[in-house]
Amino acid sequence: MRRICALVPLGDPAVADPFAAVAAAAAIAARSAGRVSAILLSREANADAAVAQAAREGAAEILLASHPALPEVPQTDHLLTAFAHLLRMEAHEGLVLLPAGPVGEELAARLALRLDAVPLGRCTDIAWDGRTLTARRPAYGGRAEAVLATEAPLCFAAMRRPVETSAPAADAPAVRAITLDVMLPGDLPPPEIREPAADRPRRPEGARIVVAGGRGMGGPEGFAQLRELAAVLDGAVGASLPAVDAGWAAVAQQVGQSGAFVTPELYLAIGLSGTPQHLAGIGLNTRIVAVNSDPEAEIFRVAELGLVAPWQEVLPKLIEKLRAP
């Protein structure tokens, strides 16, 4: 039986969905008669809730590894050292998955190099044909898909949570707990943390509604209105790459192939053309509503509701109407 190992870094607020790799591994295992093992890395030895979640996500074997010397918010180099130590003991061959996102993707690439394995990147699908592993991943800014093959015994990939969830393992998972004493890098100065400004916009990940603007907003004034609308709807503001490039929105608000991947219930796209690069950052189950002055804009091909008008004629009235009791 093929073993797929999912790594779960706990306690890092930069990892938005630490169990995504377990869910992705379970989906692959269901298609390939595989078995999912999850390695949870935490500062605390007591992580019952995390173990229970790994089981719900489909892990058949769970190793809870705690390292008391891990900082409260670990740096990637700490996670790298600890996971590399664990994998030398636990996984000499097979597929190792990490949650997609800056931390998981950096870890996947560096662990692969450190352990003489092959980094596959951020994949959308992985399957086997005999000994050959085939990985699919977006290329050309999400406009194309590359199919890559390897017979390497050990591979690392980052994956997002699949759209369809798998059932938990039929039997209760086998759970082990260990305390690590591997030496963590001691020469890493901790990063200085800048407190977020009081008016710093909410991040689009995790919001139930995202109000997003693109190049069509024409300037920062348009984004000020988007922020007002987002506040009325208790949502977050998102932006396309050109809007971030222009300085109208912060880089943390960038949604798309090269920005955040968001899965809100509703995505209100204002002045956004809807390039494949941008749409690649929006979950498939998200409903899209679009406002654009160009009736031929690509965004209307994926929206369920469309309003063709300049945003200047729409937003002030919309905010006023939604504010009215």
Partner: protein, 269 residues
């Protein structure tokens, strides 16, 4: 301070890729006729290097464009920004799809620029085939400190490199001792400047420097082989055809507001 900026370029995103495919019998993507330009992340990395040079006369910037002869026009565009040295690194057929081979190639490219770089800058994604794995993989292979997705870089008086990045819900400032590799993300603060016209003209006339990569192990099969590439249609979304609102804009806005009110009520907002 020796700073090296590694640049890949991408196919101009405004061009359609309809015929994208592998060259018959090879693992190389057929890109003939498709214009190339710097990606937003390449541009951010280049501007970051230029800013460091402007702020400190001891900083020496070498720009390296990794790719074949199809990139010569792009190389001249980079030369117009007047880094201390600029060259193209690559032969006729070059593929970055195998990350282990790509890391060897990029390591050789940095070494061709300067024996011991203090700071290596790359865009957060390197070319059309990378999704961000190559910068950390290169740092790991070379034993350099790594900072991913930095949006601002400066040099401290003690020789450390100061890097700012947004990591999840917080902004971090890292101070790392060289050698450092930073992948740079796009930001208002690192939009690429416009070159001076006289420098554009100069760059058009100057000879191009090309450095050939060292021969790879001849029998080495790629650890990861590109089997196929194709344009994919956008994924199907559940909603189906878009329902366009009609009537005067005022009435359309009212209908949209009603839609949002219903949604807000349904989710308990």
């Amino acid at each position: 301070m020796e700073a090296v900026v590694l640049l890949a370029g991408v196919v101009d995103p405004k061009w359609r890729l309809d015929g994208l495919a592998l060259r018959p019998g090879t693992a190389l993507v057929e890109e003939t006729g498709l214009p190339r330009r710097l990606s937003p992340f390449d541009e951010a990395a280049l501007e970051t290097a230029l800013k460091l040079r402007d702020a400190d006369p001891t900083v020496r910037v070498t720009a390296v464009l990794v790719g074949g002869p199809a990139n010569n026009a792009l190389l001249r565009a980079i030369a117009a920004f007047r880094p201390h040295r600029v060259f193209r690194f690559g032969g006729v057929a070059l593929s970055l799809w195998d990350p282990l081979a790509a890391v060897r190639l990029l390591g050789a490219a940095a070494a061709a620029a300067v024996e011991r770089p203090d700071l290596v800058l790359m865009g957060r994604e390197f070319g059309d085939g990378d999704d961000g794995a190559l910068p950390p993989a290169l740092a790991e292979a070379q034993g350099w400190r790594f900072c991913g997705l930095a949006h601002a870089v400066s040099l401290a008086e003690d020789g450390a490199v100061t890097l700012r990045r947004v990591r999840g819900p917080r902004e971090e400032v890292l101070r790392l001792r060289p050698p450092v590799l930073a992948s740079i993300t796009n930001d208002r603060g690192n939009r690429l400047r416009h070159p001076l016209l006289k420098n554009v003209m100069l760059a058009k006339r100057e000879p191009i420097e090309v450095v050939a990569p060292p021969p790879d192990a001849p029998a080495a099969a790629p650890a990861l082989a590109l089997r196929d590439i194709a344009v994919v249609p956008p994924p199907t979304r559940g909603a189906g055809a878009c329902r366009f609102l009609t009537g005067p804009v005022e009435a359309q806005v009212e209908e949209l507001a009603a839609f949002l009110r219903r949604w807000r009520a349904a989710v308990g907002g």
